[in-house]
Subunit: 194 residues, 4 copies
Amino acid sequence: MKLFLGIDDENFLRTEKIPMTKREIRILTLALAQANDAEIIVDIGAGTGSLSIEAAKFSPDGNIFAIEKNPDAIEVLMKNIKKFSADNITVINDEASNALKNFSTIDVAIIGGSGGYLEKILDNVDEKLKIGGRIAANFISIQNLSTCLDWLRRHENYHYDAIQVQINRLKKIGRYDIAQAVNPIYILTATKND
Amino acid sequence: MKLFLGIDDENFLRTEKIPMTKREIRILTLALAQANDAEIIVDIGAGTGSLSIEAAKFSPDGNIFAIEKNPDAIEVLMKNIKKFSADNITVINDEASNALKNFSTIDVAIIGGSGGYLEKILDNVDEKLKIGGRIAANFISIQNLSTCLDWLRRHENYHYDAIQVQINRLKKIGRYDIAQAVNPIYILTATKND
Amino acid sequence: MKLFLGIDDENFLRTEKIPMTKREIRILTLALAQANDAEIIVDIGAGTGSLSIEAAKFSPDGNIFAIEKNPDAIEVLMKNIKKFSADNITVINDEASNALKNFSTIDVAIIGGSGGYLEKILDNVDEKLKIGGRIAANFISIQNLSTCLDWLRRHENYHYDAIQVQINRLKKIGRYDIAQAVNPIYILTATKND
Amino acid sequence: MKLFLGIDDENFLRTEKIPMTKREIRILTLALAQANDAEIIVDIGAGTGSLSIEAAKFSPDGNIFAIEKNPDAIEVLMKNIKKFSADNITVINDEASNALKNFSTIDVAIIGGSGGYLEKILDNVDEKLKIGGRIAANFISIQNLSTCLDWLRRHENYHYDAIQVQINRLKKIGRYDIAQAVNPIYILTATKND
């Protein structure tokens, strides 16, 4: 199967209520998580599925598990999976904590949404993550970023890197190219060591 | 009269069609232009007047001339001047080139909008700008920024500094503070030397 | 006395060990704190004094108290005060908590550095801050930003606004203007209500 | 061969004189250019080779041609190729215009450096680029960005997208995570149509 990375945002089906991770953030998150080199990838808070689908294409031999508790999101997620023929995605319509119980090991855990249970999710991921496995989390709030940094500092067997990504897209308006800002995102990637 | 700098964006009357310079950009533009230390300030492409009014408050002893060709903008501009009792502003409803003819000298020229005539406006400003006078221009397009940089590099008696300002505002959403990006602006300030 | 805002960074004496708040951040911090409309301004963690001196010039009728515990910083701070003839600054070489005891009321508290005691400093400031008074804090770390947001959310009589400011300066290199990034800063301003 | 994207900056050999494209920019440039789906990739102004090597790993079946005129850079470039066993890279120590003459078709042209000849390089690339081929250019100067936008607007068979990428890396300093800014880059990607 042909590998791909960087699907155009407009190609995904969306609903107004569910925010979608933007193209540049998907690219960076998956590349920094080395998602292409993973057998089992869980996408926690999969939302419309843009990260899961991108992961499915970037890691065509991997198995991606899209975990999402919100039924409204599940519907769009299913449609997107079908649209992109992403056959290596399994959808799990459940809370992250429940869903994670069924895994024996995980190579890469992507955390897009945490629904207020970030710390618990991190604990649950930690139980299943392989040595050498990676966590890649996207944060838009200072509170979740801060909680995750605290968690990682307490878990000294994790090595982490954090970046803030700010993208401005130049929009063509007549003979001008005008910068339009995309909301900045923190991307945190952590590798589990022995 | 009491000096002030940094009026809340929401205090200005606005119309959808006319973009307004944001608070942080107004503050930086006027401070970097040393607008408080100026007798004659022209605000070219005054739009809704937010920069003119801010200049009027930051430089209560100065005379601010708000130049704007668009009659729709003039209406809002007038209302804002009245709302803020900014008595030291004179409105000129004309093209910049015409309006500038009537000045003998200028201390500070603020260029917010140029309507496609940036180079001509810079030439016209240059004719009237005092030695030691300042130009402070805000650009959202690469083309105007580039044109202005070219002009300044050809006019070696100007010393210029250029910055790009990107502001993210933390918005309170429930128990989270979430960054919302404001479109970035280039602020170019130049001082005319002998 | 002539008001001024936006002193060139290069005009301050500096030492390598003590980081200095950059020009654009000083301008925004003081304008957003409405420091010009204040009688008593304390600058906590004054460092080389750039914010204190800027405040002294922006608020020529105000009294600025530069609080700094580090004796190395005090030396540079004193020299800068002398260089700029900032006669309305009083230097206090002490810990913030001690220094703040001696005030009856404060109009504006600027927090540049907190030396690991941010929460305590906020408590101490709160005791002395007038109704209508402002706190303006600059943060470079996620931890201090997060601590301050937590504190403000617990103190519901404060209304706060937070922005992240990212400045890129265009540097002239031959015939090119090349963006050089300044490290981003969070500026948090809060007003104390009844 | 194992695909990879996102090599750690510190793994490349460097020399002080030659600037290196940073990890996040390499990832985005190559993903947005769909470099993995290309037979012939030219890297113009290859410098230390970080983009070429990254392309070689992201597109293991592609042939990468690293074009660089500066002999000092060539030395480091060669060492990096050897270090990463990037056997699908061919080094061409020549001016871009000369080097490009020898190609019959090109799928992806990466423009990292242009040595002041950007317009000519774009003309030369255009002559050899396949329909459906991509140009991906990184700019740090307003002048080159502006020149490239002008060129693309004159060549209406190209569809282009431009973004500015600003990365802040959180650096661990004691118990704090402190944002350190990386200089922003404009990434311009263009697809050649019929």
